[in-house]
Symmetry: C2
Subunit: 303 residues, 2 copies
């Protein structure tokens, strides 16, 4: 098994200026796994409720995503309802029903324990720490988190960060973790907490990957019609780990390419509701997007 993703599989009810959709397939692990599946074999560790429809699991399976690690609870599925206002830069939560999510226990099936890459998507850092122990010798541990855990479980998050290779966060979270407003200085503080590599996502403004004193800046792919930003960050992370897992060795260039793939995956996600667009992404399409992206970003060889 190449990548194992620990995260949520959920029902999302989403309203954006473009429209409203109820009980879509959502959750950090769903988006990340769909994006990662373009390049690699993926397994999900998660939990859903007895009300979770088979066709959602079938969609994941149709992309060769291993769902044997998704437990089925007697409770209902974790459900999020939210909306976006006109500029769609921020998600507003209307309701969160944790339901079966409180039972999530990252027990990793034996045949996933030798995963090359472990992606700890956004869940309680206590569970993230527990999950890390389940794997025999992952080459790379990648962690995502959110403002809630930074605020309410900073100690546990700190413990988890000691063990991860790559942290993926957004610029607000970087400021929140470090207490520093300048992103470069914020990242320097966070690097002391453990992660060797830190990727700061800035939504429509692209991302920056930091590695010691080196960094790599990538703009976002401009999107004419943003339909639904939900899952953009998870898709970024999924594209990133998916690309890495498809390579034998991880050089600086491999990591840079992975950031570019993450960028293309997240721009794909925002162009449709829920997973409707990311679940149709494939290598051919990534290649086309990459050519276009190079065209609009390449600097001159000299001035």
């Amino acid at each position: 098994m190449t990548i194992t993703i620990i995260g949520t599989v959920a029902f999302d009810t989403i309203e954006t200026p473009i429209g409203k959709h109820e009980k879509l397939l959502g959750g950090s692990a769903s988006y990340a796994a769909l994006a990662a599946s373009v390049f690699s074999d993926v397994a999900i560790i998660s939990i859903v409720g007895k009300d979770f429809p088979n066709n959602y699991l079938s969609l994941l399976k149709s992309k060769n995503i291993n769902v044997d690690g998704i437990k089925v609870s007697q409770n209902d599925t974790f459900a999020w309802e939210g909306y976006y206002e006109k500029d769609m830069n921020q998600a507003f939560t209307k309701e969160t029903q944790l339901n079966c999510l409180t039972e999530l226990d990252p027990e990793v099936p034996d045949d996933f324990k030798n995963s090359k890459i472990v992606f700890l998507a956004n869940v309680d850092p206590v569970l993230q720490q527990k999950a890390i122990k389940e794997f025999t010798s992952p080459q790379l541990i990648v962690l995502d988190t959110m403002n809630y855990w930074i605020e309410h479980k900073s100690y546990d998050l700190g413990q988890a960060l000691k063990q991860v290779d790559v942290l993926i966060i957004n610029d607000q979270e970087a400021r929140q973790i470090s207490g520093n407003n300048n992103v470069i200085l914020a990242v320097k503080e966070i690097a002391k907490m453990g992660p060797k590599r830190i990727i700061v996502k800035k939504g429509e403004h692209g991302s920056i990957m930091f590695n010691g004193n080196d960094y790599f800046c990538v703009p976002a792919l401009p999107v004419k019609k943003v339909v639904d930003p939900t899952g953009a960050g998870d898709s970024f992370a999924g594209g990133f780990v998916g690309y890495l897992a498809s390579k034998k060795i991880f050089t600086e260039q491999t990591f840079r390419n992975a950031v570019v793939v993450g960028t293309l995956a997240s721009s794909t996600t925002v162009q449709g509701f829920g997973v409707s667009t990311i679940s149709k992404l494939n290598r051919g399409k990534i290649g086309e997007l990459f050519s276009g992206f190079k065209e609009i970003t390449t600097l001159p060889s000299a001035l």
Copy 2:
């Protein structure tokens, strides 16, 4: 005369989390001319008061900036006082004393009338229109503006836009002019108003240049210690027109290079108070910054 810049030359009193400085040399034309002077001959059309110190004019002259078009009024110099809070993304105005600025009349001395590039920095669009008529056959007219004119003089701004080749604005202004929150759609609306090329500046997130359906995205150069963001946008525009003026023909590549030079100029400005850093920029330093910038932004040739 290669570039003529119509804009303000002012006293700036600036407070940032790093410190406070009074009556610094400021104004859109000062920053833009200093940035442009790295690559080209520049002249300023502006007005200052009887209290304007000779050493500020000497500084401009020492960079080969022609100041013959800066009138000296019997009134005091235009003065702005403002501050920045912790994240320094927004300037807050404490006081604006227009003083002699109300007398600004863009009469262009005869030997500037054949300027190759005219840069209409941020002043009243009525004056911008008047200035355009003063020139015989500029190859390129570039215009900058601000929220105040968009709000209070939208008709006049519209008339000016009909005559310009390149509009340089920030993302908020693009949304404000067009009423559209999506930057790509906003720019499509603005393009109908006249400008063939539109550059949207996004501060620490870089910029995008639009030309019909083509665009070019450039991240900002990450800066470890932002000291004073005042003049960053003017320096961008100055670097942009300065680079262009140094080239015989304007190809798409020339415009892209010019955006990169603007990016490097604005990142230079924010690293010191007032014009202290931009006034020390030179071609050698631009070359070094460019090499570093390429290093942190170059995409792989293939995935």
